[in-house]
Symmetry: C3
Subunit: 158 residues, 3 copies
């Protein structure tokens, strides 16, 4: 029998939403689904390395690069962000409950062979260079997304 499939479009760059996406994805992989996360727009920031990488960029690309968070742990919350106090509160309480931070959830996703895809159009628009993106990521467009999603059991836009 074919494996079940879960395909997530991760559009959001909010810490809480990225966390939800990766918890569902890791859960689905644990239940033997074939899982793909397609990172587009702000969701692409989840795949950024957390250090500053020297690459040649246009002025606008530099602006976007500076304004957007480098990796999930620098993201804000979708609600109650409170100038950064919200993420700190959530992370403190996650630590107390032994809940994994998002960067560990992403590591786990890779270990479970979840396919991490970066939307090529967004990469081009926002001017990301391959060196700025974590390893093990594929680059693809909407056609590849649809090929995965059209046979999917669980399709979500987050």
């Amino acid at each position: 029998m074919d494996k079940k499939k879960t395909t997530i479009v991760l559009f959001s760059g909010d810490y809480d939403k990225v966390m939800a996406a990766y918890i569902i994805a890791n859960g689905a992989a644990a239940y033997d689904h074939e899982v793909t996360i397609f990172h587009t727009f702000w969701g692409l920031n989840a795949l950024r390395k957390d250090e500053s990488i020297q690459v040649k960029k246009s002025f606008m690309e530099k602006m976007f690069g500076k304004m957007m968070p480098r990796g999930p742990e620098k993201m804000g919350l979708s609600k109650m962000n409170m100038a950064g106090m919200g993420p700190k509160m959530i992370k403190d309480i996650m630590k107390k409950h032994n809940t994994m931070p998002v960067k560990d959830l992403i590591e786990m996703a890779k270990e479970q062979d979840i396919k991490l895809v970066a939307c090529q159009m967004t990469v081009d628009l926002l001017g990301f260079k391959p060196d700025e993106i974590i390893d093990g990521v594929e680059y693809a467009g909407v056609a590849a997304y649809l090929a995965d999603a059209e046979d999917g059991n669980v399709n979500l836009f987050i």
Copy 2:
């Protein structure tokens, strides 16, 4: 023949999005779908009782409890909230058009046997106690969600 299935992850705690989730859910139940709403993160606030309940809590849990809305009718809008004027405008106009407020949509959902699930991880993180949550709610995790969703016809993340 098996019943069709609709499964909604309700992540958002905005009045308008919670309303959309419950309108789709009630519609699906009316069309004889088996319906589950899995309330996680801010969406959990839809299941809070609207009065203040005396329970023993840690300092952080008290903070979260105070900052978040008690039940759907105290929520803001995702857009045009305008310091609370937005929800009032929407509710006034809903009343004029005889549209149900969200708390009645939740009651209707229960009468239609829609399964209301509270995400156990979020309950633990935010420190909700069972006494603060409305009756008739089940507690479960991502595994239970996936078991429902993987055979679902309509799966949405709201």
Copy 3:
């Protein structure tokens, strides 16, 4: 064999999310899916004509009409809106990469026979008149949405 089906609930009125919805929809139509976009709440603004139309309205309907954007090109972003600078930056960079603005994506959707539906309940609540809405749009409710979605391969809430 039956055609594959993609059904999108477009709830959001943010330029970036509307763009994502229409890119997925146009992609799915190009891959021969039967595609429906069901515009509800703020998503309805994507279907507004961009000029001011003289229609008879109540005070509240006038208020909503004035506060909400007339068509996609007047929308803000879900993130980094920065008082309107965000959309300008994104549009500048889209032009440089020859990416279509949303209003052209909507035109393309019509040419590809994507079914554009306006949620009748939202139309009534927010007081839109047919003259304010672009041509070629159907009006329907949650029942029609579910009829499309329950046999759908890709169902998304955006």
